[in-house]
């Protein structure tokens, strides 16, 4: 399969596209937490890091097969997602945001000091197992899972929490359980993406997982459209590709990138595809009734 793809595009594109796929998986995970459930998370890169280091240490030091390591990395991230999900029960909005940001920084500093992660020297010698086929098969699987989650009873409960916690609770939604589940699932996907990331770059360094990366992931989701699966895919695509396409203006590259973010938010504050959902796109004739736009001022 890879050879077939390789005959169409060169390995540089493969590298960029593979990275894009990995980011899409991570961003979809974040979308479930922030876009669907409305819980702020400014530390998503930490779960990427946990998955990356977890999977890489397993394959490098314990010779565990790649797919098992990926799954294990995802589960480790999910475990920490549950741990961080608990404060989510007590805190709301920006306070939760700052706690998740803090958690992300703590994880980074811990990895910088651990022996097994190689500290500041980073972790090298990881095999390059993340082929473009594997990544995109997983992207498709992630999209399908997310789609079914969002259109199921579980997903509707999450959206209810986003729209109005108290109302959701009175309708019998167990807020605590759902919030923690959302964190666990979202972080699981970040962990899997992290494992893929490690096996693509073949070298990990804790400084790579600072809050800059968390915000990057958040930007993918918000710019594309909170809660909208095609929106997240589009947002991630645009923002991942932008620095590569802007290479020709190398000096002004990041300035343009920043200005672009401000402009996009001013003109499309709900994101590019805010309120457009995959289910309705596929079966739009079934739903003739115009419903709420899916994003509110409360998020």
């Amino acid at each position: 399969m890879d050879t077939l793809i390789a005959s169409f595009i060169d390995p540089y594109y493969m590298q960029v596209l593979t990275l894009l796929g990995i980011y899409i998986i991570a961003a979809l995970g974040l979308n479930l937490i922030t876009g669907v459930t409305g819980q702020f998370s400014f530390g998503h890169a930490a779960f990427l890091a946990i998955g990356a280091y977890g999977a890489a240490i397993l394959t490098v030091k314990f010779q565990i097969p790649f797919y098992v390591a990926l799954l294990a990395g995802g589960l480790m991230a999910a475990f920490f997602g549950v741990v961080i999900g608990f404060p989510a029960l007590r805190l709301t909005g920006d306070y939760l945001g700052i706690v998740t940001l803090g958690f992300g920084e703590i994880i980074r500093v811990v990895f910088l000091n651990l022996e097994i992660t190689g500290g500041a020297l980073g972790l090298a010698g990881i095999a390059r197992n993340s082929s473009i086929t594997v990544v995109y098969v997983l992207v498709v699987i992630t999209i399908i899972i997310m789609y079914y989650l969002q259109s199921s009873r579980f997903g509707r409960a999450l959206i209810a929490i986003r729209e109005d916690e108290i109302a959701a609770e009175t309708m019998g939604v167990n807020i605590s359980v759902y919030k923690i589940k959302a964190f666990a699932i979202g972080c699981f996907f970040a962990g899997v993406a992290g494992g893929l990331y490690a096996h693509l770059l073949q070298y990990l360094n804790p400084t790579d997982f600072g809050f800059a990366k968390s915000f990057e992931l958040l930007c993918f989701v918000v710019l594309g459209g909170l809660g909208s699966i095609p929106g997240v895919v589009l947002g991630t695509t645009i923002l991942t590709m932008a620095p590569e396409f802007l290479r020709s203006m190398s000096d002004y590259r990041m300035m343009i990138y920043g200005a672009l973010m401000v402009i996009m938010m001013i003109f499309r504050p709900h994101g590019l595809l805010g309120g457009i959902n995959l289910h309705r796109m596929l079966f739009k004739n079934k739903y003739k009734i115009e419903t709420n736009r899916g994003t509110t001022d409360e998020v």
Partner: protein, 406 residues
């Protein structure tokens, strides 16, 4: 409903067209309008891997300046094998992911025969397996850490080389000098914990200090980007060391010494080439006078001769009297090593000319003599130990000793 799906279609189209235009634009820009075909016949392309923005920008910009100078020299003299050399520049902004993208782009898109870079160990480690897999020579003009020319299991990488003075070689010689010539006995060792270079160098220094029977009375850690060292210095002060070994970069080194002087301690600091730069006294002012830095190259017009002197003179003439630093010299030498190897092999095929690298022995560059040993590691002599002192036009590095490496 209709309106909205129409909008969605429009947005998708817009995004797609952006991508297509972007790809086209990217290709155009990649080679500055040059021919994009693989074998353009009359030029040999070398890739530059380094940062022009972000944390390591200073190293990257200087390395590139040295490379550019060497390429101009070669092209003026008629090129190699009758072809002109050309540098393909890319900036990875000191970011890992972009580093990987740049390496792929240089190899796949620009079809370079060799990549020179990265000046830092971390990104070189990232680039090494990619270069090895694609059979493209990677020559680092700056990476000093372990596991660059070989992988984690100790297998040699056939396509990866470097031309720097290694700390594992230099640090023990310097410690010996500190003990025997300067009489140091008690040392405070300070590491910058989020800097891979510093962490690696501290390990080497610790071993060298112990081997030579010096006592480490305090171990403190700082971080790159710190501005405030009052807590660490306050902790060191009562232990009364003879000197400080700081393994990080110049910004933190200068500020650290300022704090040391502020707290009234009269001891000096020794460090590696991460502190080699005017930034050291821009940050530290008078506090860094007497601080020592070792490195594989220092431009001292009064001492230099032959090839090196010519290089220093020409560089400073082109740069308003600024002297070249180690990164400039290493960048220059890297291109020259590459050119000599290609000429000797009479081929631009990396698999062929990489063999010539292994044969380099006592190769005379502008930064000293280089021998590539059997384990692919370069042996460079001498180690220059420099001291910051007041010169004719402000502070400057003066060569304190040239310690031969055995």
């Amino acid at each position: 409903m209709k309106k909205r799906s129409l909008l969605w279609v429009l947005i998708t189209l817009l995004a797609l067209s952006l991508m297509v235009v972007g790809c086209g634009g990217g290709e155009q820009a990649a080679t500055d309008g040059a021919d994009t075909s693989a074998d353009s016949g009359d030029t040999i392309k070398i890739g530059f891997l380094g940062a022009k923005t972000g944390g390591h920008a200073d190293f990257g910009i200087k390395t590139l300046a040295g490379m550019q100078m060497a390429v101009d020299d070669i092209n003026k003299a008629g090129g190699i094998l009758g072809k002109q050399l050309e540098i393909v520049e890319e900036d990875h902004g000191s970011k890992l992911t972009e580093g990987a993208n740049v390496v792929q782009k240089l190899i796949q898109r620009d079809k370079v025969v060799a990549i020179i870079g990265d000046p830092t160990t971390g990104i070189t480690k990232l680039a090494a397996p990619i270069a090895e897999d694609n059979k493209i020579v990677l020559l680092s003009a700056g990476a000093v850490g372990d596991n660059v020319v070989n992988d984690e299991q100790g297998n040699l990488r056939e396509f990866v080389y470097r031309n720097t003075l290694l700390d594992a070689v230099a640090a023990p010689s310097v410690v010996k000098y500190l003990k025997e010539e300067l009489g140091w006995q008690r040392v405070a060792l300070i590491t910058s914990m989020n800097n891979d270079y510093s962490v690696g160098l501290s390990k080497i220094f610790k071993q060298a200090l112990l081997d030579n029977g010096l006592e480490i009375v305090a171990e403190e850690s700082v971080q790159d980007g710190d501005q405030n060292f009052s807590a660490q210095v306050t902790s060191i002060k009562p232990k009364n060391p003879d000197g400080i070994v700081f393994t990080g970069y110049y910004t933190e080194g200068g500020l650290l010494m300022k704090e040391v002087r502020k707290q009234g301690m009269d001891i000096n600091m020794v460090g590696g080439d991460g502190m080699l730069g005017a930034t050291l006294w821009e940050m530290g002012g008078e506090a860094v006078n007497g601080s020592m830095v070792y490195c594989g190259f220092e431009a001292d017009p009064s001492m230099a001769e032959g090839k090196t002197k010519d290089f220093i003179d020409r560089y400073s003439e082109a740069n308003n009297g600024e002297l070249p630093n180690m990164f400039v010299a290493q960048g220059y030498d890297a291109v020259m090593m590459l050119a000599d190897s290609i000429t000797a092999a009479n081929s631009v095929d990396p698999s062929v000319f990489k063999e010539e690298f292994k044969k380099l022995a006592d190769w005379q560059g502008v930064s000293g003599t280089i021998t590539i040993q059997d384990n692919h590691e370069p042996l460079k002599s001498p180690v220059y130990l420099l001291e910051v002192a007041e010169g004719d036009n402000g502070q400057q590095f003066k060569v304190k000793a040239a310690i031969p490496v055995k």
